[in-house]
């Protein structure tokens, strides 16, 4: 009885800690920033300073600057990178992330548009300047399925959730969920750290 209570207590602590430390929500519908925008305060920095710092950050991290999505108050950049491997997740997962940084004197607001691709059949993915993705030799690949019908669980080992005919949703692959949350949280912590260090 005491052990059971202790386990429940520990579980609550772990879960609350996990929720507090995450900038993202990851469930059967997808992965998104929660709240939808994260703000980094840069007190005392002029708009031009903030702009220069964002450009330096993009350059330093070797992200791709996206002029089409950028303007007077916004700078966008893209990252195209592996975010989960076959060994742990069941398939290699590749993320195409477009960050839109809205800025002004003293702050940056971060928004994210992301698409995750699953390369279950070992496809090597390519991306062009328009941010469209294809595979070498057209090897099959597809956008990552966060949930699949439960009878397809074996065919989609990387799927995070399964749902039954009655609509019951079950966590199928918690490792993928942890992997993706950790991966995306790193972006925000990295930006926060970098901009604070360069403030």
């Amino acid at each position: 009885m005491r052990k059971a209570l202790l386990s429940i207590f520990l579980l609550i602590i772990i879960r609350s800690g996990y929720a507090q430390g995450s900038y993202f929500t990851c469930n059967e519908t997808g992965l998104y920033l929660s709240p939808s925008m994260v703000t980094i305060s840069l007190p005392g920095q002029s708009k031009e300073d903030v702009k220069q710092k964002i450009m330096s950050f993009i350059l330093e991290r070797k992200y791709v600057y996206k002029p089409f999505y950028s303007g007077d108050n916004q700078i966008a950049f893209r990252d195209f990178v592996k975010c989960g491997d076959k060994q742990n997740c069941g398939a290699d997962l590749i993320a195409r992330n477009i960050f839109r940084l809205t800025y002004d004197s003293g702050y940056i607001k971060i928004r994210l548009e992301n698409e995750i691709y699953s390369t279950f059949y070992g496809a090597e993915l390519l991306i062009n300047e328009n941010d469209d993705v294809a595979s070498k030799k057209d090897v099959p690949f597809a956008p990552y399925e966060f949930q699949v019908p439960e009878q397809y669980a074996a065919e989609y080992p990387e799927a995070m959730y399964t749902f039954s005919k009655k609509g019951k949703i079950k966590l199928h692959n918690p490792i993928v969920q942890e992997t993706l949350l950790a991966f995306y949280n790193r972006y925000i912590t990295d930006m926060e750290t970098w901009f604070r260090q360069h403030n």
């Binding site: 303007g71 062009n128 328009n130 469209d132 294809a134 057209d138 099959p140 690949f141 597809a142 065919e155």
Partner: protein
């Protein structure tokens, strides 16, 4: 004798049930695996078509115009960029209409009737390619679709 044969047949049938169940399961597993493969193959091929066209992003619009010929229309944006738009309109119709009929006698009773058959169809859509360029005529972005 007949009874013995029947018993043997029933016994064999019962013995083969688990094997049949396994075979059926394997078959449906293969079908599901095949379904995933087919779905992703179709996606990969569709992405390739899009990728080929949108890979003009980064090139100079003059190179595109030299290859594609003249555009349908051009639009100047408030931010100084120019959009070159190529459009292809597709429209048409087909199918057939067979009228129905009702035959009545002198008292108004229906003697014979046939429903009309309408298999006609029509379509009208425009396929577009929009190339957004900056002040140096470099293509920044490509949008495609139908409207």
């Amino acid at each position: 004798m007949n009874t013995k044969i029947r018993i043997v047949v029933i016994a064999l049938s019962l013995a083969s049930l688990p094997a049949m169940a396994v075979a059926q399961s394997l078959a449906s597993n293969n079908t599901r695996a095949q379904a995933r493969y087919n779905k992703e193959k179709i996606f990969a091929e569709a992405q390739r078509k899009l990728f080929t066209i949108t890979s003009w992003a980064g090139a100079n619009i003059s190179d595109l115009l030299a290859k594609w010929g003249s555009y349908t229309r051009k639009s100047e944006q408030p931010n100084g960029s120019t959009v070159y738009i190529f459009e292809n309109r597709y429209s048409g119709s087909g199918g057939s209409y067979t009228p129905g009929f009702v035959v009545t006698d002198q008292f108004g009773n229906v003697v014979a009737q046939k429903q009309a058959k309408d298999n006609t169809y029509s379509y009208d859509f425009t396929e577009y390619y929009e190339f957004y360029t900056d002040s140096t005529r470099r293509i920044l972005h490509v949008k495609t679709g139908t409207r």
